[in-house]
């Protein structure tokens, strides 16, 4: 039982991080129908920047977050302007290839700037003391992660439902020509969505790195996020969080209970297994938009 709870809490906190990264993925897809495979690499930038300011320069924690966010804004804006905007109007496959290229380039930049050896947070970003809830012991990073994710989730739900910019983003995702015809500056919307995607992914990167250490392999979470998005629905903010939790927990359970039988590796496979099964049952994802067909 104690084992189960441990897998569960780890799964939930990891799942929330997956959800956050998936959220970034969803944001870009929602506005521009672009599958941004570089979202995992965006995490790297956040994680490394925060690490630099915390460990090398000993800045206070909130300032480190702010620096990570600033870096993300610059990165998101630049990438949209330099790599994505020239491809507007080109086949979507070309744009997707571009995000794959970005993936490689960002990895390369990170390797050049910070080296290939993983780095630990020393001093840690969050206080290392664990929190006791009855029998369950939870690492404090996870609790902070939870708080941040919940706040983000509320902000984005509100943003898309009620704000002018959010509404414009949703409109843009449906019909670019019509959006322009109603006076929405589609390019600005693209730019905003890339910036927000970068911010969200960076924050997820900082949180994850605080418990796992800063390492280039953090970016692999980007691929898990693709599975999460497929399960949750490509356009859905709540879907990203829910599916993130499902996959996070399932992964940890698989790691705990199946790995001893098959000799490891189930963790990585499981996310995509779930994605495939869920696509067979819910092709639009759990919360995805069903295509409205008029007959």
């Amino acid at each position: 039982m104690e084992e189960f709870l441990r897998y569960l809490t780890t799964g939930i906190s990891l799942g929330l991080i997956y959800g956050l990264v998936a959220l970034g993925f969803v944001l870009v897809y929602k506005s521009s129908r672009i599958l941004n495979f570089a979202v995992g690499e965006f995490m790297l930038i956040g994680a490394y920047v925060a690490w630099t300011f915390r460990v090398l320069l000993h800045w206070p924690i909130p300032a480190c977050f702010v620096m990570a966010i600033i870096a993300a804004i610059i990165m998101g804006w630049t990438i949209e302007r330099v790599a994505i905007r020239p491809l507007i109007g080109q086949p979507i496959l070309g744009v997707i290839m571009m995000t794959l290229a970005l993936m490689v380039i960002i990895r390369g930049v990170v390797l050049l700037a910070w080296g290939a050896i993983g780095k630990a947070y020393n001093p840690p970003l969050f206080p290392g003391t664990a929190i006791h809830l009855g029998d369950i012991v939870i690492r404090q990073e996870y609790v902070w992660g939870l708080v941040v994710v919940v706040i983000m989730f509320i902000i984005f739900t509100y943003f898309f439902r009620f704000s002018r910019a959010g509404l414009a983003m949703r409109a843009t995702s449906e019909d670019h020509q019509l959006a322009r015809g109603t006076g929405i500056r589609v390019k600005t919307v693209f730019s905003q969505s890339w910036i927000i995607c970068a911010i969200v992914a960076s924050i997820a990167g900082v949180i994850l790195a605080s418990s796992q250490g800063v390492d280039i392999r953090l970016a692999n979470v980007g691929l898990v996020a693709v599975a999460v998005v497929l399960v949750g629905g490509l356009e859905s903010v709540p879907g990203a969080i829910v599916a993130g939790l499902i996959i996070g927990v399932a992964e940890q359970m698989a790691k705990g209970y199946i790995d001893p039988w098959v000799g490891g590796g189930m963790e990585t496979v499981f996310a995509f297994g779930i994605a495939i099964i869920s696509l067979l049952i819910w092709p639009y994802g759990l919360f995805g938009l069903r295509r409205i067909e008029r007959i």
Partner: protein, 264 residues
């Protein structure tokens, strides 16, 4: 107010769609633009609203002026904020958004968002039906309701000129009548000029003050709506009112076609 002089439009730099179209939309009037499929009516609207640029089209000759300013090189967003809105044909709406969200998007180009609520009330005054449907996903509304929503979304931007593309397309005659009545009322109350593109000539001429008839990318006939309704060719080819039982001879085809032989 809105003046098109002799415009030529080309798609993809090869396909010449409009071959010198001139027309004028005076302030506060409803102007009808009639013609068969492929005459270039929608292209005229897209040239005005700038949406041509999204379809690889370009105004290659002539000019479009609005309040004395040339707008044929501007992008669609800029043209919307100048007060020209195109209500596209085929009831184009943001299907997954609710009715009210669609309307709020319509007000997007107005930056002082404070009076959105007042605007919504105005729309619900013109289209009481929409008020009951405001939280419905718009993709599931009926055709007539969608057309009302699309027109309402156009009104939300408080346009000076509204380009209305085939509001009667695929709707029952009664619904067409209802929508036309509302358009007429809106024009009378708000004084917005309307350029109305239609195949349903009878409906369009019933509310328009002036009309243009297009064929093959050219304006072939124009005049006050009453005169057009009397015109024999319009009666025969667009209103379907020909003398029954009489034999047609080739001499009696459209007079402007006949004339074309020496006028070019």
């Amino acid at each position: 107010m809105l003046v098109l002089s002799n415009i030529e439009v080309m798609y993809l730099n090869v396909i010449l769609v409009l071959k010198g179209v001139s027309l004028e939309v005076p302030e506060g009037k409803i102007i009808a633009l009639l013609g068969a499929n492929g005459a270039g009516k929608t292209t005229v609207l897209k040239a005005i609203s700038g949406l041509l640029h999204t379809e690889e089209g370009e105004v290659t000759d002539g000019s479009i002026e609005f309040d004395g300013k040339r707008i044929d090189r501007m992008d669609p967003e800029g043209i919307v904020s100048m007060g020209i809105i195109q209500v596209m044909e085929g009831r184009r709406l943001f299907q997954h958004l609710t009715t009210e969200e669609n309307l709020r998007i319509g007000g997007y180009s107005r930056h002082n968002g404070g009076d959105i609520k007042k605007d919504l009330d105005m729309i619900y005054h013109y289209f009481p039906k929409l008020k009951d449907l405001r939280n419905q996903t718009s993709g599931y509304l009926s055709g007539g309701e969608q057309q009302m929503l699309v027109v309402g979304r156009g009104i939300m931007s408080h346009p000076k000129v509204m380009l209305l593309d085939e509001p009667s397309l695929g709707l029952a005659p009664l619904v067409v009548q209802e929508i036309y009545e509302i358009v007429r009322q809106f024009n009378a109350e708000e004084g917005t000029s309307i350029l109305l593109v239609e195949q349903n000539a009878r409906a369009a001429l019933s509310i328009a003050a002036y009309g243009y008839v297009m064929e093959n990318g050219k304006v072939v006939l124009d005049g006050p709506a009453d005169k057009l309704k009397e015109n024999e060719d319009v009666r025969e080819f667009y209103l379907g009112l020909s003398q029954v039982g009489e034999q047609k001879s080739y001499r009696e085809v459209k007079h402007y076609k006949r004339r074309k032989r020496w006028l070019g």
